[in-house]
Amino acid sequence: MTTTVDDAEPGAVTTTVSRPRPRRALLVFLLKRVAITAGLLLGVTIVTFGLVTVVPGDPVTANLSDQALNDPAAVAAFQEKWGLDQPLYVQYFQYLGNLLTGDLGISQQTGRTVADDLFQYVPATMELAIPTMVLALLIGTGIGMLAAVRNGRVTDQLIRVGALLGLSTPPFWLSLVVLYVFFYQLGLAPSGGRLSTDFSPPPTKTGMYTVDAALAGQWDVAWDAAQHLILPVLVLTSLTVAMLVRFVRSSMLEVLQQDYIRAAYAKGLPARVVFRRHLLRAGLVPVITVSGLAFASLLSGTVLVENIFGWPGLGQYAYRSATALDLPAILGVSLFVALVYTLVNLTVDLLYGLIDPRIRLS
């Protein structure tokens, strides 16, 4: 992305001073990104197809019983059903042809269309990712800024140690500890799943139980679903906060050392004004990039946490598909993840301009 500067404020990047028409520039930018995304997705299908064929392991072995493997008729039936008896390039072009009509194929694991699977598992993961990101941004940004402002003092040292511990903690271990403390010892939250077994899922609107139950007026279900979010969100938030704190702190420290910040203080501007007008805007730009990637990472699968908490999300689906060499499902997840990262990057790029008006798209 090219950045231009329409404001000669110190610290800003100076590349060109032209001022393109904003709407046209945005349109061109978006069209370019759509083309890049299409190419990227095509690349993902090629790479995924290639990888699945070079990794050791045979989908037939992974999916049929030992006895069935000894029966040539059963093996042939499986291969024919899933098109595995065709040359790889034929399989690939068939897949590509179906993809153009929006058909992602059928999962060998679930027997459902991959699209149906994604519609079911992605919202479950979203239900974890959204509150996690909201909490992580609030907590991580706040603590990171505090550490930057208190640079070198005890508070800063404690925050840095805490963040390091958070980053070093294996998610599955933290999940087990949280379960032990909050479920087993204190009884403050349920152990796993999306709902207690006494409840049935609410009518599907968004796929997120809390939202769907609220929309249906099933407040007891919504409350129960919200309680089931507590522990996995707690674990994911802890890990995301640890990452954000380090970025926010270092980003803020960098800005604090800029001459224009010192000049602003020297001019006698109140600290809150310096913070809001200069520090926050400049310091948050790299944080947006990191937050975007963190969100994409949460959406693309938090396998271990989902597994420990029995959360039927995209991470579990991806893991199951990979271990069973379920090619349609692996491709579906790969495409989705690539799309998420592309969209997140696009959003981040657009947000740059909003957060820091000095940056314009061209």
Partner: protein, 535 residues
């Protein structure tokens, strides 16, 4: 000081929210099953899902078998944990011909599917033919059988070869009878080309069309399967009107059971994980899994592993008691290839024993000094046991006798794939039976059979005594005599086969103290959900 109405309103809302939160938080301490501990009629079954489908024609995985057994009736079944003798289910009686090739089943009268339509012999024949022709994993069990009806209540099953175990096969959940009319409407077919033309799986995954004690309420292969009682069930109504099979990590299962308020079951707490469970919980276990090594008998693959003296030396080097200890409660040192849960297992006094001096002497006889062999195993945790830990123990035991094993852990699919090529010198794997007939092992593991060939064990390379022992099993039609023949076959295998049985381990049902009928069964469905009651 005055208080504004807005502040009052906010305060009241906050207090109300706090009250709700605290009251619900108390109940949240349970696992979510039956927090009231008394009146609810939901049975929660926690298990690490191994689930691909609920289509009886395609069912093979543990979680699906448990559910399908409660959704679909079979001609025969097993009661409780006794898998030695099938008992009537849809068939009120059956007769076997003396040559064990023809079995005639008389259907129970008045059986209806869950939608109220009558179950007929046509439905039985359709279901069994579909199972055979769909050619999914369970089809092998019925591949040599033909099915026909002679009247509205009589079904005849014919086998090309003598097979006294056919009644057992017809108790398996995959032989569950579907409502053929409804199934056909949704793409099911029993035609010869059903492997290609049958499209009913997606419908049968989300709708049950059987006559079992439960019907399927919802299906999510990653999260939970919900069953509800079938109002048209012909037998005794189950105690629980609702059963939720819930996907849960093993560690979480243990924590959940330790806090269980009532009416909960866990299916994967075994071995070391059983330690520390409260005495209020009920545990039922059966040793139905055997863990064994296989050595390649093909000298072209490995001159070391194919050496009969080396084979015997490795057997003598292993500390079987120590290995059983790694599995924890419910395990035992290896005896034969048949797990103790099944008829035909070798008695405990025939468990293998260690003799390091003998191992060293055998190596000398073999002319091998510090032989080295690559040792492959799947890097997985199976029934609570990390196979890597066991492999490391085997490596240590072998080293004491002068044998060097190079550990080669592999992802499961890679291991299975490589094992099929027959190029593995030494491997390690668990084995459970697909259905409770131990002599199915003869068709897999005897010399020249498919599994044996993966270890390069051809008939030509085998001791004729082993071949003869296997032949005797298949020729024996009386079930008690067949079990005795199986024992002889295992003794012959222990003396001269490429398999070394390390240990047998238990599968377990852990249930809350208020439940009855929670016996583990090695029949395939783990626990009979419809038989679970409150005591």
């Amino acid at each position: 000081m005055s208080v504004s109405p807005r502040r009052l309103r906010v305060g009241a809302i906050a207090l109300a929210a706090l009250a709700i939160a605290s009251s619900t938080a108390c109940s949240a301490g349970g696992s979510g099953g039956n927090g009231d501990g008394g009146s609810a009629k939901t049975l929660t079954v926690n298990t690490s899902f191994v689930l691909k489908t609920l289509d009886p024609g395609r069912i093979y995985e543990a979680t699906g078998l448990t559910a399908v057994h409660s959704l679909y009736d079979t001609l025969l079944t097993f009661e409780g944990s006794d898998v030695s003798k099938p008992v009537p289910a849809l068939a009120e009686s059956f007769e076997a011909s003396p040559d064990a090739k023809t079995f005639t089943f008389k259907l129970r009268e008045g059986v209806k599917f869950s939608d109220g339509t009558a179950l007929t012999a046509d439905d039985v024949v359709f279901s069994l033919n579909r199972l055979k022709n769909v050619k999914a994993s369970p089809a092998v069990m019925v591949s040599g059988l033909t099915f026909a009806k002679t009247d509205e209540r009589t079904v005849v099953v014919t086998s090309a070869t003598a097979d006294p175990n056919i009644p057992v096969v017809l108790a398996m959940p995959s032989t569950g009878v579907v409502n053929s009319k409804v199934a056909k409407e949704h793409g099911a077919t029993d035609a010869a080309d059903a492997a290609k033309s049958d499209t009913a799986q997606q419908y049968l995954d989300t709708n049950s069309v059987g006559s079992g004690p439960y019907v399927l309420k919802s299906y999510d292969p990653s999260a939970q399967v919900v069953l509800e009682t079938n109002p048209n069930y012909w037998g005794d109504k189950p105690e629980f009107s609702r059963v939720v099979l819930r996907n849960m990590d093993v560690q979480t299962q243990k924590l959940t059971m330790q806090r269980a308020g009532g009416s909960e079951i866990a299916l994967d707490i075994s071995g070391k994980l059983l330690e520390g469970l409260p005495g209020s919980l009920k545990t039922s276990a059966m040793q139905d899994t055997v863990y064994f090594l296989f050595l390649n008998a093909d000298p072209a693959v490995s001159p070391v592993s194919s050496n009969a003296k080396f084979n015997q030396a490795l057997r003598a080097a292993i500390d079987y008691e120590g290995i059983a200890g790694l599995y924890g409660k419910g395990a035992a040192p290896g005896a034969g290839l048949v797990a103790p849960a099944y008829p035909g297992a070798l008695p405990a006094e025939e468990q293998s024993k260690r003799d390091v001096a003998k191992a060293k002497a055998l190596l000398t006889e073999a002319g091998l000094t510090n032989p080295t062999v690559k040792f492959n195993y799947p890097a997985i945790t199976y029934k609570g046991v990390d196979l890597g830990t066991v492999a490391t123990k085997v490596q240590g035991d072998a080293a004491e006798a002068g044998i060097k094993l190079e550990l080669t852990p592999q992802p499961l699919t890679t291991f299975l794939d490589e094992m099929r090529t027959g190029k593995m010198a030494l491997g390690f794997t668990p084995q459970s039976l697909n259905y409770p007939v131990a002599d199915s092992l003869i068709n897999n593991m005897s010399p020249g059979q498919a599994t044996a060939l993966r270890s390069g064990w051809t008939v030509e390379r085998a001791d004729p005594a082993v071949v003869a022992a296997g032949k005797k099993v298949t020729e024996t039609l009386d079930l008690a005599a067949r079990a005795a023949a199986m024992q002889e076959w295992q003794r012959a295998m222990n003396a001269a086969s490429p398999y070394v049985v390390l240990a047998s381990n238990s599968s377990t049902v852990v249930a809350s103290g208020d439940l009855t009928g929670t016996d583990y069964t090695a029949a395939g469905w783990q626990v009979d959900l419809a038989a679970v009651g409150r005591g």
